[in-house]
Every structure is written in C-alpha cells, then in structure tokens.
C-alpha cells in the first residue's frame, strides 16, 4: 500500500538558525533530491527548500524505514545532530500530507499568509524533481492538484489581496497612486530595517533607481551599496524631491526633515507629478501638512499599521474560506487516490484471466490438431472476448466503488473471489489451489 509522507520544518516548528542550516542554497536541494532517489524504499520524491521552510515529500510502501532514512539525509545535509533536528520536524502522512502540501501551495501555511512567492517556489521544486525524474503518477497528480488548489484559493478568496506588513502595505499603496513603477525613482532618507525592506520591495516591483540620503554620507554609501542605489548627501534632499516619485523616510531626526514649503516649491518644478511619502520614522520626518498639497500623499507609520490591522482582520475571514477550498481539493484527490488502489487488483485480475486463457487455449489446441491461420485467429478472438466480457462487469463495479466508504471491502472480496493473493489462501481452499498450481506449472 503506497503512502504519501511529508517530513519537514517551517517557521513555526524550527528556529531560523536551524532553517538556515538546511536552506542554504539551491545546490542543497538538488543534493537532497539525489540522495532521496538513492533510497530504494522511496518511490517518488520532491524536495522543497525556501527561507521559511524545508520539506521532503515522498511516496513509499515502507513508511517507517523511508522516514528514518529521510531524517538522516536531513541531518547529513545540515550537519545537525539528529536529536536536535527531530524536535523541530513535523511529519504528515497520507491525507494530512496532501492537505499540508495544498495549504503550503495556497500560501495558507506561510509566515505572511497569502504571500505569492511560495507557489513559484513549489513550482520550481517540482520542475527540478521532474527534470531529475523523481516524481511519478502520484506526486505528479498531487502537485498539479496543489497548483489547482492554490489557483482556486487565489481567485475565489481575497487572501492574497491585502497587504499584511507595513512595508508591503506601503508598496501596495504606491501601486494605487502610480500604475507601475517603470521609470519611477525612489528616495530613501535614513536607514532602518523596515525602510530598507520597503525600498527592496519597490526595487523588486520595478522601480528604476533608488537614491539613498543619510546624515553621515558613509552610511548612505553603505546602504546604497546593498541595493545598488545612488548615495546622496543630506543637503541634496531638496534637489532629489524633484526627481523622486516615492520617498521612504526613516531618520532619527527630532524635527521634520521634509517641510511643507520645501515640497510645495518642488511640486511646481515637478510639473505636479505625484509624490508619495512613506514616513516610517517616529517622531515623524515629513510634516503632516505636506499631505494637504495637491498630488502629494503622505502616509506615516500609524496610517500604514492601520491598513495592516484591517487587512489582517480581513485575511482571517478569508482563511476560513480558503481552508474549505483546500478541504474540497483534498477530498477530490483522495477519491482519485482510491481509484488508484483499484488498479493493481484490476491488473492482476486481467493477468489471471489471460494466464487461464493461454493455458486452456494451449490444451485445446493440442487436441484440435492442425488448424489453418483463419481458424486459429477466430479461436484467439473467441477466447479473448469471452474473458474480456466476463471481467468487464466486475472491473466496472470495482472502479465505481473505489471511492465509496466500503470500497476496500469490495476490493478484498474481489481479490478473494478470484483468488488473486496466493499467500492469503486458507487451508480450506487447498484443493482448488492445487489446480491453480497445476495450471501454472503447465504454463
């Protein structure tokens, strides 16, 4: 019986130091995949590694054995002692593993729920696995269904609509002011984690250049280097206001760094091109009165946190809807998986019928004497159609019952009825077994 198993760690189960050990670079994931392929009891495998999670997804017939080998692979890869690793790992099996991978793909398991990158990361992991040919029928189907579930969650719920971090919210706002960031320029005043994150977001969204101003020019050079910005001196801010479209400010200055009159003067020379201030500093850097100017928008940290609060509230409602969609998809996948369970029975049923047909045909042919090719052919057709027609209804029946609650019982009955598992035969059925043996020997 094939089982789907998922072993891994995410931002909830493991601290960042541990995740770092495993999620170092892409080559790591490739090595993990190669190592998993070497394990004989693992049939199909996929390895996902992002900065927030490391997961090994595989199918196996010997779950326990496979699990311990995967754990030792993880230990070897991260050079972590097993006892330290095991406490941070989660293990999901079968339906739970399916549900988990669907939730991950739909970004319901992410640190920032609804963030869109995870789906791309899973797709990449999957394409690596297909390149290495480590996936098969089950994982192929599982991953495709996961992408489908993720798409449904994205289109049918508002989970990815709302920004839930301050820097992300600021960028989303900027998108509602400027259509896109092509050719737009950013100006970062001061430094700080949140401000730099926002600047990085802007860059990744296509802002063409970012200037960095700081009271100490050295610091400006340093920050600018980290994202290929242009360092400018603090005195140049006025001139930069003519160039920049989005200004992120986060200095420790006690007073306003950007004043009403300064912006008012520059707006005329900017020919009223919109200007968006993201003021993350406390106390504020940008005079709130600047917001009263036409085509100028000022959002301070409180405004942005307010938006984030509203969005988080909305997302929780949407998450319930998203979980319902995931559950639907899990059930659909399980139904498919159950039809897969029927396949071996059907195959052995057909094999058995074919064996009997061949044996009986041989027997009859020897007693029938010389036959011409046409007669041989019609005999072949006759026997084939008899076996096929007899088996047709049982096979259809099994397929139909596959995903019903008692599907397994029917499967067992069928296997016993047609005696497909020789090792299960009882003493009572000894006589008939003898016949079976005989016919097989002849064959």
């Amino acid at each position: 019986m094939i089982r789907i198993v998922n072993i891994g760690m995410n931002h909830e189960t493991a601290p960042v130091e541990l995740r770092e050990c495993l999620a170092r670079d892409a080559a790591h994931a490739d090595r993990a995949l190669a190592m998993m392929r070497e394990i004989p009891c693992i049939r199909e495998s996929l390895f996902l590694s992002t900065c927030n999670r490391v997961e090994a997804l595989f199918t196996t017939e010997q779950a326990e054995k496979a699990k311990s080998s995967v754990v030792s692979i993880l230990c070897a890869l991260g050079e972590i002692p097993p006892e330290r690793l095991c406490s941070s790992l989660f293990t999901y099996e079968d339906q739970d593993a399916v549900r988990h991978i669907f939730r991950v793909a739909s970004s319901l398991d992410s640190m920032v729920i609804g963030e869109p990158q995870i789906l791309g990361q899973i797709k990449e992991a999957y394409s690596n696995a297909t390149k290495e040919r480590t996936t098969g029928v089950i994982l192929n189907r599982l991953l495709h269904r996961a992408f489908h579930a993720a798409k449904r969650v994205r289109t049918e719920t508002g989970i990815s609509d709302a920004a839930v971090s301050v820097s992300y919210a600021a960028v989303e706002l900027a998108k509602k002011i400027f259509h896109d960031f092509k050719g737009k320029k950013g100006l970062l005043i001061g430094a700080g984690e949140m401000a730099e994150l926002a600047a990085r977001h802007l860059l990744s969204q296509g802002v063409s250049a970012i200037a960095v101003a700081n009271r100490t020019f050295e610091k400006a050079v340093e920050v600018a280097q980290s994202f290929k910005g242009i360092p400018v001196s603090f005195e140049e801010i006025g001139a930069q206001l003519l160039e920049a479209d989005i200004v992120i400010s986060s200095t420790a200055a006690p007073g306003y760094v950007v004043t009403h009159d300064q912006v008012k003067g520059s707006m005329k020379r900017r020919r009223n091109r919109p200007l968006f201030f993201i003021d993350i500093a406390v106390p504020r850097d940008v005079d709130p009165a600047v917001n009263d100017l036409e085509n100028v928008y000022v959002y301070d940290i409180d405004d942005l946190s307010g938006i984030v609060q509203v969005n988080i509230g909305q997302r929780q409602g949407e998450a319930i809807k998203a979980d319902r969609i995931v559950e639907e998809e899990v059930i659909k996948f399980e139904q498919w998986l159950k039809t897969l369970e029927v396949v071996p029975t059907i195959v052995s049923l057909k094999e058995k019928a074919e064996t009997i047909r061949q044996t009986e045909l041989k027997k009859s042919l020897s007693s029938l004497g010389e036959l011409n090719p046409a007669q041989l052919k019609s005999l072949e057709t006759l026997t084939l159609s008899i076996t096929e027609k007899i088996l047709n209804d049982p096979i259809l029946f099994l397929k139909q019952k596959a995903d019903r609650p008692h599907g397994k019982t029917y499967l067992d009955t069928a296997r016993r009825l047609f005696r497909l598992d020789r090792e299960n035969t009882d003493e009572v059925e000894h006589g008939s077994e003898q016949v079976d043996r005989e016919s097989e020997e002849k064959h």
Binding site: H179, N272, P274, E294, Y297, Y299
Partner: protein
C-alpha cells in the same frame, strides 16, 4: 423593425449594466466577461438601430431629442470600446455602462414624433458635423466618468480611508492618463465638429456663425476645454484639479446639448428641426 432593434439594444445594455455593477461588487471575472459580451451585443444592436434609422429617414437620425440621445449613447459606447482596446481597464465598464444605459432610458421615455425632413438636412455635412461633434461628446463623457473615478479614488487615498472601492478602482495615474487621453481626443473631435458645423452653416444658411444659443454654449465649453488642455500640457495640471475641471466641462456640454435644444429656441433646437419637441 426599428423598435425591435432598439428594444434588443436597450435590454442588452441594461443587462450589461446590471452585470457590470455585480462585477464591481463581487469582483468575479466571469461576470465581467459576460457583462462585456452583453455590452458588445447591445452596442451591435444599437449600431444596427442607428444605421436603420439613418436608412429609413435618409438623413442622420439626430433631428429629435429622442434619437439624438440614443445616438449619443451609441457614441459613448463606441468610445468605451476604443478605450477598452487601448487601456484594458475592466472597471471602466462599470462606470460607463450606466451612463449609456441612462441615456437610452431617457431616450426611451420620450415620445416618438413624426419627423418632416427639411431639404436643408439632406446634406453630407450634417452626418459629418453631427458625427464628429457627438464622438467628441462621447470622449468627454469618458473624461467625466474617469474624473469621477479619479475623485473617488483620490479622496480615499488622501483621507486614508480605504473603502471597498479602493481595491476595485485602478491607480490614480491610470485614471489621470485616461482623462488626459480622452480630453485630447474629445477636444480634437469637438474642434472638427465645430469647423464642419460652421462650413455646413455657411453652405446651408449663408453664414458661418450665427450666435445661436447652442453655438454659444458649445463655444464656452470649447474654450473651457482648450484652457484645461493648455494647462495640462503647458503647466502640468493633473490629478484632482484636472478631474474636477473635466466634470465642469462636461456639465457645460450637457447644458449646451439639452438646454439649448429644449429651452432656447433657435435653429439648433429640435423644435425647429421638424420633429415635435420631446
């Protein structure tokens, strides 16, 4: 025949409007696709209707307020389809379709009168004058709609109260560029409409300009739009101020269109065109 085409167009456009409003609320893409198809079908029927009227009457069907309004609705939809092809802005339909629907409903409530076509209208200048002027009006209707959308979105962002329309409306820059583009096109067509109109007047009535109330109103609107366009291009006016002014400009146009036709009687009014007053 005309009634059937008109009925189909009206029903389809009303359905499309309803679907567009549902789309605005529910944000369901398939609803949008249906709304757009319905609107296109409605537009096709309206085109057939206008074409049929033209054919039946022998002159451009703009001699009564009733037929002018449906012709106006047609140009608004025409301009919408052009904008859709250029900007692919889904939400625009939710704002334009109601305008077209209102025009059609207004038109349908007016009684159809018998029209006696005076020989002066049997001129190729009439459809040229009317066509350019009305397409210009269609563009201005889009500046009006985009202006309203801009003002809604801008006040949400400015006041930091991000309501339910915030996520549904496009960015300020997009709305402003629609407004700008529609203004340029509208102004070009309006200028062409006025020039062809005066040539037509010279040809039909013997003078280029007669200070008819409609002409005066249109001239006012033209000057207003000229100033707005100049300020946009030369000084860089944009955003809220430009949006507000495009609303005012359109109101002057509406006054020129309805007011001058109905209350101020001169040769531009439908009363004197041979149709009964609407």
């Amino acid at each position: 025949m005309a009634l059937f085409l008109y009925g189909c167009a009206l029903v389809l456009i009303l359905l499309a409007t309803a679907a567009f409003i549902v789309y605005l609320v529910r944000q369901n893409k398939s609803v949008y696709h249906w709304a757009y198809r319905l609107l296109l079908a409605g537009f096709a029927f309206l085109t057939l209707f206008v074409g049929y009227e033209y054919y039946a009457l022998g002159v451009a069907p703009v001699l009564t307020l009733k037929s002018s309004l449906s012709f106006f609705a047609w140009t608004v939809l025409l301009v919408y389809v052009l904008f859709h092809l250029k900007f692919r802005l889904m939400v625009l339909g939710s704002f334009v379709a109601p305008v077209a629907a209102c025009l059609l409903i207004l038109s349908s409530t007016l009684p159809a009168g018998d029209v006696t076509v005076k020989p002066v209208f049997r001129s190729l200048w009439l459809p040229v004058h009317i066509g350019t002027a009305f397409v210009g009006n269609g563009f201005f209707a889009v500046t009006f709609v985009a202006g309203i959308m801009y003002l809604i979105q801008e006040s949400q962002i400015k006041k930091k109260r991000l309501g339910s329309l915030y996520s549904r409306l496009p960015s300020l820059e997009t709305l402003d560029s629609i407004n700008h583009f529609a203004l340029i096109c509208g102004f070009t067509f309006m200028t062409a409409g006025m020039i062809t109109g005066s040539i037509y007047a010279q040809y039909a009535l013997g003078s280029y300009w007669r200070w008819d109330p409609k002409e005066v109103c249109s001239l006012m609107a033209w000057i207003f739009y000229a100033v707005l366009l100049h300020e946009r291009l030369a000084v860089g006016w944009r955003g809220r101020r430009a949006a507000l002014l495009s609303l005012f400009g359109f109101l002057i146009l509406v006054l020129a269109f309805v007011g001058a036709n109905l209350w101020l009687s001169d040769y531009h009014s439908f009363r004197n065109m041979g149709g009964r007053p609407g």
